[in-house]
Symmetry: C2
Subunit: 433 residues, 2 copies
């Protein structure tokens, strides 16, 4: 294997960051200012703005509106190198990473690889459900939904037609709640105009949650608000209903109840992944990587993990932090400062997460928010929340344009995004392949 | 086979239109006003705005900006029915069409199926070249270009690296010229910022034309202007160079010259397709369907063909009309009026094409135009030309939004569109499959 080509020797230290999500991207941007060479690796050449996946899936935004080319983000930064590559192995002794493009030596290695969909061992579900953990999965979901309506139009059997129109979401966290709300609005405002021959009073939207309330990571009253709001929008929410099986048409809950839908979106859990070259002992619950309060992987001096993939116990979060963007961003900011201290021979500081608020939207006019400092509601809260997350991704100039673009899409809802672009040259495979 | 479901019996006559391009769409919109039931069939659920494919291919526009859902266009129209379906066979005696969704009886059948890429029997070229006759092909092209730059970055052999950076376009008509200009600008303004480690003075853009000038369908001076402009932009234009072979890396011209590029875009010709159920005798040069001056297929009373697929001889166009949008739109408008006359027992009128001008853009600041009535140049001419074509597609309300969107993209060039969304669940196949 050869070295990754065209990356000069660093003047000082080289940091290799694996993963261009909220954590990796924020870290790359911060460290680029501190005289360190940064090499950022991601299997895609763009950052995916996860909080708005559900908009792509429900045809409210174009994929490119939430996909930010990583190269463009680092236009101005001279010693940040991006490579579209897959991490294959880590050698902490030699301080090397191996990728499909070649190997690279590092002084610091930061794993910010994120998590993927957890099917909890339910093989049938994995085979038939649609996940939503990436832009391409969101596009796939949108295409599937549109295709099913085209098929429903040509279906004379009423039950079969209804199965094509129904949509089931499994997982009552923010993703599931947001999807359910967006689909309810699609059903109310858009679909009847597109498919006047179909009777959308027959379309059922189900949301199944295994636990006893929605939005388990937020305050109880937020979960209750979401439950009420979704109910008013005509979503059928079933609490305490773990889903055990799905064959592509029939859903079965643990209690043995049956529901029928050709579309099942699985947002019920996430899981990390073993990293080749690190022992399995670094993994803990849900395959997250166990780190200390400096985000350092125990037993390794210069290897760190941040974001969703990292599992850190603190007094306030004895079971690890929620896997949300704000944690990722704060850990990245904190680590960049810690490395500056470390380089200067100073002590590093412990990480403490400051919860500045969580939000989940429910349709276009409602949101539930736990915002400790500001009590904003509705549209203003949503705008602020989005903007705060956007700040973590792109520079000032771009934030303006991107934000205008999102607001434009919001205002001109009923966008022409219900196109089923089925690339001629691609054959459909199962998600996850 | 069953009848296509959920289409009511028509009150008067039923027109079946196959193809939602410029011709089919314009005809559907006109006929919808005339008390006729219109059933529009297309294999995609959206209209593809061909004049701007090259913008998608060079990451200047998002696919959805030029894809208009056919259902949305017919929101307000009660007796227009759209089905996403493929035409399988026509039975002119029984006056039936057969599709993958079922059969349908018609009173009038209009074929507006368009044309596809013509490889002139060059099998190697067909296998290795990239066509650009649809939105999904434009996306595929964009992805290929971006992927090659990622690979080039990791290539240490200089010749191999240059082959990855070079781009060849075959076909000097408007499509090829526009692509060449857009790529030249991408090379100048965008790529060096995205890939600072690559030396773009080494990137060659070639344009091969088999004939003796560019833009053969336009005035000679326009072809000459295009030649000069492209030359100034650093595109190497080779006239009188038919391309005979391409193995994925080496291009060979008829003269035996060799060029090296991993990307070859084939825009050198188009061809129609036989329609099952109609005899091959209706086909003429380039597999276009021979029609009389009423766009009627000879020998068939109620079967018509309009747009690119139709071949009509008139005194002014003894070898058929150019396959351009304006011809398609005018034929559609003319046919809709003719059918009204026919229904009233009046004589139909002959079709005469009024050439109101042709335009090809060369980069973002130049265009060549044959505009007999107005002598506009540059940006104003381009705007007018685009708007005229847009009028044919969507209603007044939407034109405004779409146009603002395009202008926004124009102004904010250096858009974040250089994302390589490689859908997880699709495997790459060859274009055309």
């Amino acid at each position: 294997m050869q070295q990754i080509a065209n990356i000069p020797n660093p003047v000082n230290k080289r940091m290799v960051i694996v993963g261009g999500g909220f954590a990796g991207l924020q870290l790359a941007r911060k460290c680029a200012r501190h005289n360190m060479q940064v090499v950022l690796i991601d299997r895609n050449n763009y950052h995916q703005f996860q909080p708005l996946f559900y908009q792509v899936a429900t045809a409210g935004l174009e994929p490119s509106s939430i996909s930010f080319p990583l190269r463009k983000i680092f236009h101005e930064k001279n010693d940040v190198h991006f490579r579209m590559a897959k991490l294959e192995e880590v050698d902490p002794q030699k301080q090397m990473v191996y990728t499909n493009l070649g190997y690279l030596e590092y002084d610091y290695l930061v794993l910010a690889t994120g998590v993927s969909t957890n099917y909890f061992g339910l093989e049938n579900v994995k085979k038939n459900a649609i996940p939503m953990k990436s832009v391409s999965e969101a596009i796939y979901l949108r295409n599937r939904i549109l295709e099913n309506y085209e098929k429903a139009l040509n279906e004379t059997d009423e039950e079969a037609q209804q199965a094509l129109m129904n949509i089931v979401i499994v997982g009552g966290g923010p993703t599931g709640v947001e999807l359910a709300g967006a689909l309810a609005e699609m059903r109310k405002y858009i679909l009847p105009k597109d498919y006047p021959e179909l009777d959308f009073s027959k379309m059922q939207i189900y949301l199944f949650e295994a636990g006893d309330r929605l939005l388990q990571g937020m305050l109880e009253k937020s979960g209750e608000e979401a439950y009420q709001s979704l109910g008013k929008m005509g979503v059928q929410v079933y609490l305490n209903r773990p889903v055990e099986d799905y064959d592509g048409e029939q859903i079965m809950t643990k209690q043995g109840e049956n529901f029928r839908a050709k579309t099942l979106i699985w947002t019920a859990g996430v899981t990390g992944r073993a990293i080749q070259g690190l022992p399995d002992s670094v993994l803990t619950r849900s395959n997250r990587i166990h780190v200390d309060q400096y985000n350092r992987i125990k037993g390794y001096k210069n290897v760190f993990a941040i974001g969703d993939i990292a599992y850190m116990e603190t007094p306030q979060y004895p079971n690890g932090h929620p896997q949300v963007a704000q944690v990722a961003i704060q850990q990245a900011q904190h680590l960049s400062k810690n490395l500056v201290r470390y380089e200067r021979g100073q002590d590093m500081k412990l990480f403490f997460y400051e919860d500045r608020g969580t939000m989940a939207t429910i349709g276009r006019h409602r949101a539930v928010a736990d915002l400790p400092l500001i009590h904003l509601r509705g549209f203003a809260a949503w705008i602020l929340w989005l903007f705060v997350h956007l700040m973590a991704i792109v520079g000032v100039k771009n934030r303006f344009f991107i934000f205008i673009n999102w607001m434009w899409n919001y205002i001109t809802y009923d966008q022409s995004l219900r196109v089923l672009i089925r690339p001629k040259m691609f054959r459909y495979n199962k998600p996850g392949e």
